[in-house]
Structures are given as structure tokens and as C-alpha cells.
Amino acid sequence: MRRDPQRSRLFTRRVAVLAGGKALLMAGIGMRLYDVQVRDSDRYALLAEDNRINLRLIVPPRGRILDRFGVPLAANRPDYRLLVTPDQTDDLSATLEALRAMVAISEDDERRVLREAERTHGVVPVTVCEDLAWDEVAEVEVNTPDLPGVLVEAGRRREYPFGVTVAHVTGYVAPVAESELTDDPLVRHPDFRIGKSGIEKQYDQALRGAAGASQVEVNAFGRVIRELDRDEGRAGDDVALALDIGLQAYAVNRFGAETGSAAVIDIATGGVLALATVPSYDPTQFTRGLSQSAWQDLVADKRGPLGNKAIAGQYPPGSTFKMVVALAALDSGVAGPGHGVFCPGQLRLGNATFRCWKKGGHGTLDMTQAIQQSCDVYFYDLARKLGIDRIAAMARRFGLGGPTGLDLPGEKPGLVPTAAWKEAVYGEPFHPGDTVVAGIGQGYMLATPLQLCLMAARIASGRMLVPHLARAGGEPAPDMGLVPEHVALVREGMNQVTNSQRGTAYRARISEPGLEMAGKTGTAQVRRLTQPERDRNLKLEDIPWEHRDHGLFVAYAPVAAPRYACAVVVEHGGSGSKAAAPIARDILYEAQRRNSARDPNAPATALLHSV
């Protein structure tokens, strides 16, 4: 070096430049670190939290559905599921083999578990089987130390303790369908069940509750490391119904093998005490997912177990409609209380002949007698004088021809025809003949059993009751504005239907003093009988089931101080007096015996135990 000072200087210069360059680079890296670690630190800190913290929804327990005395109609049962986290177990197949000694695992289940384990890279728990029995849970829990990665998770399953008895009222829950997705993140949770029909659907929001959340720390593979925070959410509210499950069960059983429905309304409040539909289905099966064949069977059944006949079955009201015609006549002044009509057994109108159900005719009747004996000619006469629109107006005041406002989805409106309606639908005027048959609740007229029950309740109370299933206090229903004497007259007619020997339902009376009922029979033609059939005087058994008449009965009890209104429709059961009246009588007797309408908050009585 001493020999080459020029080169030495060059070296020093170059090294200085190089060192300077390195220092600049270091400074650049330092500034970069400053930018990331100090200037943008907050943003990255947030991203780091996003990375590691997962918010998991907790499905709150769904509210129960209770009857008026607190008996659960829909509740949640603990459901134990067996899960295994594949990467926490040494040998998945061996673990499943060990589990097989304790719980039943099908080969399909095993294949599914192995497949899911592969798909999720083993870090996500896979469900092995569901709905474990308690002793199975206990056995697995005891052996946990020998079963790494296995865990038992407690979930909930909706169950309906009374099953078929109130299925059409409670409805059922099921997994959320695509069309039911909303902003509520809860509905996207795989464990969430949504109300699909009945009260479950009507009060879904209240029953649902509010979702809880669990903050968990997860690693890059999604495995939960620990729980950081937990908010249990709010359990769904219980929904208490006015319904008395004891009376409901009685009504359902009373139908036996018959098809039909019955409604019972508390006249004091409008609360629906029973809403029976026979036959029915088991809602618990729906929550588990119905098999294809079970579903096919339900759909194919001609007795229609899926339909809620009480609110969606529409039948011609037949003679049960006569009180409405009578009140329309009294109210409009077409006929006074003493109005008499001679019944020769038929009414001739132009070329047409309208028969009374009694071939020989009733002779001369006043209004009370006409109701008592259900004389058709009397009401043909009234209808002809009233015209359809005045009949229709009165029918609507009694809740016919439109939804009653019951808090249950799927209610049908029935049909109360008017001249304008017929013009609009058929393009024809309302013929006098149409009006005449409307006078006995036939022709275009349709009503649901609930509407008929409401009609009976309004006649019995004279007030604008509105039926409701959820127990609710509130104002007493307003008066209907009818003349009390007119209503009293109609009620006396109904009283005589059951309580006088000439009444059409005398044989279905309640004879126990103080519990007597008043009612009205009705028979709805399913198929108009031909003249030869009529002459042969066919017996019920000779007609095919589908062609038999529907038997109807509306009633209330006790006569002296009405509390319970009831309507019974027996599909293809024949006449109202033979098929429907005895069922209505027994239901109303049972309602009074049970004291169904008593204040549920009053001290329990021995009667409760008969539930």
C-alpha cells in the first residue's frame, strides 16, 4: 500500500461512498419501519384484531308457547350432539371405532365424517351424530380422557308435547328458506329455526329473541384458541295463549274418526279456547325434516290433515245462517217479531220450486218457531223480501265474508255474495232464486268454522267480539248496536232448538240445570241431490263419503249467561243435528265442567290436574 498511495486514496474514497450508500439504505429501511410501525400502526392494529377475532352468533333459546294455564304447547328440549375435531385426535378412524361401542354410528355417518374432516382440513369440529340419549352422553363424557378431540355439544330442539292435538294452532319451525332471509344475521345461522306456520309464524319475532355473540380468538386456520367475550343474547319471549289445551284435547278426541273442526270462543273476551282440526299432523316431525314418503302421505290424504279447517275450511253455513237473516229482517223492518209465514213444504218462484227440508210443510210459524224447527220456506220468504244486499250487510256485521282478524296466519275470508259481487265475477245479475237460497245459507255463501263460532258469540253477547289466540286484556268489545228485543227473539229461537221438544237438536241438549246450551243446526249440501235420489230417501250409508252433506252446529252456553260459543263442522257427516250437535254439546259441557274460561291467574284448582 505504501507503494501505491494513489490506489489507497481511491479505495478510501470508494469505501466512503459505499458506506454512505449503505447508511442511506439503512435510513430508508428505518423510515419504512417508522411508516409501518408508528405512522400506520393504528390501521394495522385493527387489521390484526380482525385477523384473530371472530364474532360468532349464539342462537337464543326460542320462547315457549303456553296455553292459558301455562301448559307448554311448544318447548325446547336439550339435544346432545357428538362432535369430533379431526386434528385433535391421533387416528380418526380408531376414535370413531371407540365411539361405536358407546353410540350407534352408521357407516354412512362414518363416511360423511371422514369426508368432512378432509374437506375442512381437520380443524373444524365435525358432527358425528345428533340427538344422543342421556346415558350415551354420560358414557362418552366419562371416557373423554381416552377420546381426544371428541366433544359433546348441547343444543336445543323444538318439541310439541301435544303434537297432533294443537298442530294447526302452534304450527311448526323449520330451517330458514332462501325467501325468508332478512337483515337479521340470526336467520343465517345454521342452528336457527324459523316459524313456518301457526303461532310459531305469527309471533316469530317475539319468540325469536335477540342473538347473542361470542368473541373468539382464532388462528390462521380458523381453529378457536379461546373465548374472549360472550354475550348470551336475550331468550325469546314466551307466548301465552287463551287456548285451554285440556278443552282442545277433549274436542279433538270427541271427533273420533270423523273429519272436521270445532272452535270455542270465550264470549267475555273473544279469546279462542279451542280450535280443533281433525285430522292433523305431528309438528315435531317437521322440525326434524320430514321424509319424502311421509310428506307424500300427508299431501295425498283426502281428509286433508295439512289444512287448518277451522280457519281455512270454507263451508256453506246452511241453516246456521238463519239467525242472521232473521235479524236482518227485524232490523230492516221487513218483518216484525210476530211475523208469520205459512209453510206448505215448498216455495214456488216463477218456474222454480224451492223445497223445505220437511216434505209435508210446517204449517204456520212465527219467527221463533221458524228457527226452532229450521223451516226453510219461512226464510225463503224473508230473503225474498230483504234482497241479497241487506242480508249481506247483516252477515258482515256478524263477522262473515271477511277475515275475523284472528292472530293466526292462513285465515280464509269465506264468502258473502252481493249483487255487485255476482255482477263482477259472473257478469250476471243476482237472480231472485239466488237470494232465496242465500236465505238458508246455501248457494254462494261460504263460512269458516271460526266465523260461525264468532257469529254465535256475537249473537250471544250482542257485542263486536274479535277472536284472538294470544292472551290479551284490553277493552271489552263494543256493542253491535242491535235492538235488544230482536236479539232476544233470535236467542229464544236458538234456545228452543235444543231445549224444546220440537227443536231440531232437542236430542243433543244439555239437561244439567244451569249448563243448558242454545244452538242451531245446519246441513250444507256438498252435491245437489237429484229428484230420484230425493224420492228414494237415501240413507247416509248409501251415499259415497265424499258426497255426503257437511253437518254443522253453532251454539253457546249457558243459556242464562252465555260464556262459551262453539261451532262444529263435521265434514261429510250428514245432518247437523245428528253429526255436529252432539259433538258441540259435549264440548260445551266439558268447557263448563272444566271452567275453561276462568281467570288463569286465579289459584289453581283441582281441575287443572285433568289436563
Binding site: 501505491d4 490506489r7 469505501v15 459505499l18 429501511i29 419504512r32 408508528v38 394495522y44 390484526a48 382464532v218
Partner: protein
């Protein structure tokens, strides 16, 4: 002759140990200790599987360094070409019969040990270039022909390494060569010419790149392009750095590293983990240790009497600087992810041994700083 006896002068072992760079050994030990501590954290608080082997490797490497340091610098000059030749032969061997590993042929399995010739060649390249420029006379420097042989010394291994393909090491070798050219006093016009040549060759070179290498460069240019794919590493690394903030999340408290959002936390991204757990304070502290080592290296270069010693020292310290700066620039998203470890800290044996071998040469330069180094010939006495 006086000159001859002067050239033959031998230092005793005591003298050598006295001139040993003990300060450098201390700094290196500190950095290695930081490395083992971070590996302990990376394993979730366990000396297995990384911290313990790494510490053992450092001790072995330290032994290698001291041994290399005690060998006369003239011996290293004498063996510079043969060693570099051996490296290039090994690179060819890797190409011919190398094992496939990590998607690239880099390792040579010699039954007893696995060696990575691309690491070895970083040392031998500097040695060979130092020897060449030591031997050249000042009058030859401005001319073109004298810089052709050293160009070949560089290009042969660069081409072989690039072919493996190992873009990161290839670039490092080229830059190392350029740095040695620069300090050796090669005229700046040759640098300018080389720059023009490289720039015009870039579009052609792009075509020769493997698909994943092109992806890496594109991802580097726009990290958001593919946040879950190739950009994931850089993004997660920046999140870890940024969330570490000024003072960090505490030792073994780095969520990004411990929940495995950070990839390769024990190797290429260990700096990120350190910065996440100790913040910018910890990061700057480690960089300061590196800076001190580099300053130490320059001091050794300036004290050396021979061009060979100076060039060797600056070259070695530049290799070290390149490792550190490329790794840190990579994890902070300044340069593409190229797979360069953080020197003495990242888990891995080959780079540790290579670097400590290099520091051994540096120490040897320091110990033999006054020894006259012959310009030509293979033996110290034959010049």
C-alpha cells in the same frame, strides 16, 4: 533476504489470539442470542424444535470462525481460486444431480452433510475477486481487458444460481461482485456501461423467469393484487409490524406470529416477529447491532495493509449487509419476497456457517493486517 524473511514472518498463536476481533465475537454472540430467544418464542415458549439446535449451530460456527481466523491470510489468498473453482463445480453438480427441494435445486446431499453451494460461493467469490484485484497493477485499471477475468468469476456462478432457479442469491452474488469491483477501483464508465447493458436485457430476462418469480415481482409492485395468494405474506407481515407499534405486544405475545397468520415466522419472517413483539424499539435495537458489526468490519478493512485484506474485508461485510438489508426490506414490503434469511437470527444452518466463515476471514484479515501479501503465485514465498 530481508524482504524474504519479512514475507515469511509468522505470528505466534498468542499474538494471533491477541489480535482476534473479540469485540466482533461479542456482537455476533449478542445477535445470535437474540435469534435463539426469538426462536424460543416462535415455538410457543420451547427450546424445541428451533432455539436449541440454532444455539448449538452458532457455537459450532463460532469454532469454524476462530479456526478460519487463525489461518494465515496469505493461505486464503493462495487457495482463493481453487476454492472458488470448487464452488462453481459444486453448483454444476447440484444442477446435474441435485435433489429437488423447495421447488428448486439448491442442496447437494453429500451423505454426511447437506451443503448449499450457492451459499459457499458467496464467500469464494469475494475471496477470488479480492485475490484478482490484489494482483492487478494500478496502470491496468482503466483498461477493458483486465476486468474481463473477474467478470467471468462473477458471471459463472450467477448464471448457475439463476438457473437453479434462485433469483435472490443470484442477485446477491451480482451485487456483491459489483461492490467489490467498485471498491477495487474499477472505472465508473464500466459500471455505466454494465447498467445500460442490464437494463436493455431486462425484457429478455423477464421471459426467462419462472412463473412464480414473475408473480413475486408483480405482487411486489402491487401487494393488493392478490391478498390471499402471493401478497398474503407481505400483507400479514406488515400487519404484524404495524400492530407491534412502538413498544410491541411483549415477548411471546405476538398474535400474528403465534396464531400463525405470519408465515415462516422462524425463518424469513423472524424479523417481523421480533418487531411485533418488541415494537420499533426492538427492531431498531437489532438493526443497531447489525450497524455496529458493519462499522467493525470497515474498521478492519481500513487497518489492513494489503489490498487483498481490504477488499476481502469490505466484500465480506457487504455480503453480511446484503443479507440483513434484503431480509428487512423484504419483510417490510420494500422489495419482493426472495427468501433471504436474517443473518444469524433466522433458523437455518447453512447461512449461519457461511456467515461465520466469512467473519472468520474478516478476523483473519485483522490478525494478519501487517503481513505483506504477495501479488502473484500460489505460494507465499514464490513471488
Amino acid at each position: 533476504m530481508a524482504l524474504r524473511s519479512f514475507q515469511n514472518q509468522k505470528l505466534g498463536l498468542g499474538q494471533k489470539l491477541g489480535r482476534m476481533t473479540w469485540g466482533l465475537v461479542l456482537l455476533l454472540t449478542l445477535v445470535a442470542a437474540v435469534g435463539s430467544a426469538m426462536l424460543y418464542s416462535a415455538a410457543g415458549g420451547s427450546i424445541r424444535p428451533w432455539a436449541m439446535p440454532q444455539a448449538v449451530r452458532f457455537l459450532v460456527g463460532l469454532g469454524v470462525m476462530l479456526t478460519v481466523a487463525l489461518v494465515d491470510v496469505r493461505v486464503w489468498r493462495r487457495w482463493a481460486y481453487p476454492l472458488h473453482g470448487l464452488s462453481v463445480v459444486l453448483l454444476i453438480a447440484v444442477d446435474v444431480m441435485g435433489e429437488i427441494g423447495m421447488g428448486a435445486q439448491r442442496w447437494l446431499d453429500l451423505w454426511v452433510i447437506q451443503i448449499q453451494p450457492s451459499e459457499l460461493v458467496k464467500i469464494t467469490l469475494v475471496l477470488a475477486l479480492a485475490r484478482y484485484f490484489h494482483g492487478i497493477v494500478a496502470e491496468d485499471m482503466p483498461r477493458f481487458w483486465p476486468i474481463v477475468p473477474p467478470m467471468l468469476l462473477i458471471l459463472a456462478p450467477v448464471a448457475l444460481v439463476m438457473k437453479q432457479p434462485d433469483l435472490g442469491t443470484g442477485t446477491m452474488l451480482a451485487v456483491t461482485g459489483a461492490v467489490v469491483f467498485f471498491v477495487a477501483g474499477v472505472r465508473l464508465r464500466w459500471f455505466a456501461a454494465a447498467a445500460v447493458l442490464v437494463l436493455s436485457a431486462l425484457p429478455i430476462a423477464w421471459g426467462f423467469l419462472h412463473d412464480y418469480q414473475q408473480q413475486r415481482i408483480l405482487t411486489y409492485l402491487d401487494p393488493q393484487r392478490d391478498p390471499l395468494g402471493a401478497g398474503y405474506h407481505i400483507l400479514q407481515s406488515k400487519i404484524a409490524l404495524g400492530s407491534g407499534g412502538v413498544f410491541g405486544k411483549g415477548y411471546m405475545g405476538g398474535t400474528q406470529a403465534h396464531l400463525r397468520f405470519l408465515p415462516e415466522r422462524h425463518t424469513d419472517f423472524i424479523f417481523t416477529m421480533l418487531a411485533e413483539e418488541f415494537g420499533i424499539v426492538g427492531a431498531v435495537a437489532l438493526l443497531t447491532l447489525y450497524a455496529l458489526i458493519i462499522v467493525y468490519g470497515y474498521a478492519i478493512a481500513f487497518r489492513s495493509a494489503s489490498p487483498f485484506g481490504r477488499i476481502l474485508a469490505v466484500g465480506m461485510i457487504s455480503v453480511f449487509f446484503l443479507y440483513a438489508s434484503i431480509n428487512v426490506a423484504m419483510v417490510t414490503g420494500v422489495v419482493p419476497v426472495v427468501g433471504v434469511p436474517l443473518p444469524l437470527v433466522s433458523y437455518g444452518g447453512t447461512s449461519m456457517l457461511t456467515l461465520l466463515f466469512g467473519f472468520g476471514l474478516l478476523a483473519s484479515v485483522n490478525i494478519h493486517r501487517d503481513v505483506p501479501v504477495p501479488r502473484r503465485g500460489f505460494g507465499p514465498a514464490e513471488a
